[in-house]
C-alpha cells in the first residue's frame, strides 16, 4: 500500500540522510581510527538505505530505482526525521546523535526481523548486526567523554542536550507508521521508545551524564516532508552532480 511504502521510505531516508552527515566526518575525525569507524557506519547506513530504497521503488508502483529516489526527489518528498539532517556539530554532538539514533534503530530492526514482509525482515536481519555495532561504538565514546575530562564531560552533556529536541520525533506514530504496523510490515515507533530510552539512560548513567530526552522545542514533521532549514542545503549538495547530468544514464 502507499502508506506502507511511505513508512519504508522514512526508514530509507533516515539512513540515507544520516549517511550524508556521517560522510562529512571522513578526514575530519578526532583520530584516524575514528575516520575509519565513522566511514564504516556511514557505509552500513548507506547499505540499509540502498536496500530499502530499491524495495520501496518496487512496491510503490513507480518503478523508480535507488538513484531516482535519492537524487530526483525534492525536499518535501523526503521522509526522514530531523535528527539525521542536522548539521555536523562537534564530536560530542555526533556521539549523542549516534547513541540515540542507533538505540532507536536497534529496537526497530530487532522488531522488523519479524516483519510480515519477507524482504523487510531480510533487510532487518542484516541491519540489526550493523546497528548493534553502531550502538556499541556510540556507547563507548559517550562513556569515555562523559567520564573523561571536565571539558569532555561538559561537551558530551551539551551534545545530549542539543540532540534532545529531536528525540521525540523518532518515536512519533505517523499515519503511515500506523498503517504499516497494522499490516504487520512495520512497527509503531512509539512502541520502540521504552527500550531505546532505557538503553540511552543506562549509558548516560554510567557515563555520569544527565539523561535528557525532551526540550523546550520539539522537532516534528519530517515524516510528512516538513524539514528544518539545513535540509535544503544538504540535498543541494547531495543531488547537484546527478541533477546536472540529466542525460547521463549510468555512472
Amino acid at each position: 500500500s502507499p502508506a506502507v511504502a511511505d513508512y519504508l521510505l522514512g526508514l530509507a531516508d533516515d539512513a540515507l540522510i544520516y549517511t550524508q552527515r556521517l560522510g562529512e566526518w571522513v578526514s575530519r575525525a578526532p583520530q584516524i581510527e575514528e575516520d575509519m569507524a565513522l566511514g564504516n557506519i556511514a557505509l552500513d547506513q548507506l547499505g540499509q538505505a540502498r536496500a530499502l530504497l530499491t524495495y520501496v521503488g518496487s512496491v510503490d508502483g513507480t518503478g523508480r530505482d535507488e538513484d531516482a529516489l535519492a537524487y530526483l526527489r525534492d525536499e518535501r518528498e523526503f521522509r526522514n526525521v530531523h535528527l539525521v539532517e542536522q548539521e555536523r556539530g562537534d564530536f560530542g554532538f555526533e556521539m549523542a546523535r549516534l547513541l540515540w539514533f542507533s538505540s532507536y534503530q536497534y529496537e526497530l530492526y530487532a522488531r522488523l526481523v519479524d516483519s510480515a514482509d519477507d524482504q523487510v525482515a531480510a533487510i532487518a536481519r542484516k541491519a540489526i548486526k550493523e546497528v548493534a555495532y553502531h550502538r556499541d561504538h556510540a556507547t563507548q565514546w559517550v562513556l569515555r567523554l562523559g567520564d573523561g575530562t571536565q571539558q569532555s564531560h561538559e561537551r558530551m552533556q551539551a551534545g545530549l542536550d542539543a540532540v534532545a529536541t529531536y528525540v521525540a520525533e523518532l518515536f512519533d506514530d505517523s499515519e503511515s507508521a500506523r498503517a504499516a504496523a497494522e499490516s504487520g510490515v512495520g512497527v509503531l515507533p512509539s512502541s520502540l521508545a521504552d527500550g531505546a530510552k532505557a538503553y540511552v539512560r543506562s549509558v548516560t548513567d554510567e557515563a555520569t551524564l544527565d539523561y535528557v530526552d525532551s526540550a523546550r522545542a520539539t522537532a516534528r514533521g519530517g515524516r510528512i516532508g516538513v524539514h528544518s532549514q539545513v535540509m535544503g542545503y544538504l540535498l543541494a549538495e547531495m543531488q547537484h552532480i546527478h541533477r546536472s547530468h540529466p542525460d547521463a544514464t549510468t555512472w
Binding site: 560522510g23 575530519r28 575516520d35 530504497l53 535519492a70 569515555r144 569532555s152 547537484h240 555512472w251
Partner: protein
C-alpha cells in the same frame, strides 16, 4: 636493540631487517622519513577524494568511494605502525606533518575539480603509486615490506575501480566523456611527477637514491618506474578513448617503450615547496581536524587512566 642479526649480512643476503636488529642510524632515519611521508600521503590523500563523498552521482559510487577513502585511513594506520617499530610514535609524526617538517606526496596538492577526478585518481594516481610500491613489498625492512603487501593489494583494487568508473563514463553522455578527458588532461603530468625527479641531469634530486638502493629500500630508479608506468597506462588510455595531453607521446619501436615529452620540473619544485593549488588547504584541513579532536583524544586517555585506577583499586 642489537640482539638481532648483523645488518650488513642481512642486507647482503637480501633478507629482512626486523625492528630488533641493529641498524645504522641513517638507515633508520631514512626509513622513518620515507614511511612517515607515505603514511602522511594516505591521510592527506583522503581529502581530495573525500571531497566527493557527499556529492557522488550514484549511491553505488558513493559506497565505493566511502570504502576507498576508509581504506586510505587504514593504510595510514598500517604505515604509522610500521614507522613506530623504528622507535617513533604517531603523534610525533603527525606533529611533523602539521608543522611542515615532514611532507606528503605533492600529487594531493592538486584539486579534484569534477567527479571524473575521483576516477582519474584511482586510475592514474593509484596506478603510479602501485608502480612505486610493488617493489617496496620486497623492501629490506620487514614491517614496511609487510605493510606494503597489504596496501598494494588494496591499491590495485582501487586502481581497477577507478579505471572502471572512467570506462563507464567514457561510454556515457558527451559531457561525461568530456569530463573524463578533462580529468586525464589535468592528472597525467602530475601523475608522472609522482616518480620523483629524474635520476640524472639538471633536475635530478638529492642523490639519496644510490644509498636507498644499496640498503634495499629502493629497487628501481625513478625514470625506470616512470617509463614502466607510461608503458602500462598508454594502452589503458586508448581503451578509454581519450588522448593523453602530450603531443610527444609515441611508440618507439627501437626502445620498445613509449617516448614521452618533457616534464615541467619547475612546477614540480614549486608545488613541493608549498605553492601548489591546494597545499595550504590540505594542511589547514588536517590541522583543523586534529585540533578539533584534541579534547576527544585527551578524554580517551583520561578515561583509560581512570579505568586502570579503578581496576587497581578493586584488586588492592
Amino acid at each position: 636493540r642489537g640482539d638481532g642479526g648483523n645488518f650488513d649480512e642481512l642486507i647482503e643476503a637480501d633478507l629482512r631487517i626486523e625492528p630488533r636488529d641493529q641498524m645504522p642510524d641513517d638507515y633508520r632515519q631514512t626509513l622513518i622519513r620515507q614511511i612517515a611521508q607515505h603514511a602522511h600521503s594516505e591521510i592527506i590523500g583522503m581529502q581530495p577524494e573525500g571531497n566527493w563523498i557527499t556529492r557522488a552521482p550514484s549511491l553505488r559510487r558513493k559506497a565505493i568511494l566511502i570504502a576507498k577513502v576508509q581504506d586510505e585511513a587504514g593504510h595510514g594506520l598500517y604505515l604509522y605502525s610500521a614507522a613506530e617499530t623504528l622507535g617513533v610514535d604517531r603523534s610525533e609524526l603527525l606533529d611533523k606533518l602539521h608543522s611542515g617538517r615532514q611532507k606528503y606526496s605533492s600529487i594531493f596538492n592538486y584539486p579534484t575539480l569534477t567527479w571524473a577526478d575521483v576516477g582519474a585518481i584511482g586510475w592514474l594516481v593509484d596506478g603510479a603509486a602501485i608502480m612505486n610500491q610493488v617493489p617496496l613489498c620486497r623492501c629490506s625492512f620487514g614491517p614496511y615490506a609487510r605493510a606494503m603487501i597489504r596496501v598494494c593489494k588494496e591499491e590495485s583494487f582501487h586502481q581497477r575501480q577507478g579505471f572502471e568508473s572512467l570506462y563507464t563514463m567514457s561510454r556515457g553522455s558527451q559531457r561525461q566523456k568530456a569530463m573524463v578527458q578533462d580529468a586525464a588532461n589535468r592528472w597525467w603530468w602530475p601523475a608522472l611527477m609522482m616518480f620523483g625527479p629524474p635520476d640524472t641531469g639538471e633536475h635530478a634530486g638529492d642523490g639519496r637514491t644510490a644509498q636507498s638502493m644499496a640498503w634495499g629500500i629502493k629497487r628501481f630508479a625513478n625514470d625506470e618506474l616512470r617509463q614502466k608506468f607510461v608503458d602500462m597506462t598508454v594502452p589503458q588510455a586508448q581503451k578509454l578513448g581519450i588522448e593523453l595531453p602530450d603531443p610527444d607521446l609515441k611508440w618507439n619501436e627501437e626502445r620498445g617503450h613509449w617516448d614521452f615529452g618533457a616534464i615541467d620540473w619547475d612546477e614540480f619544485w614549486r608545488v613541493l615547496k608549498g605553492d601548489g593549488p591546494c597545499n595550504e588547504e590540505r594542511i589547514n584541513h588536517r590541522v583543523q581536524a586534529h585540533e578539533d579532536g584534541a579534547w576527544v583524544r585527551e578524554a580517551a586517555v583520561a578515561y583509560h587512566e581512570k579505568q586502570q585506577e579503578r581496576q587497581q583499586g578493586a584488586v588492592a
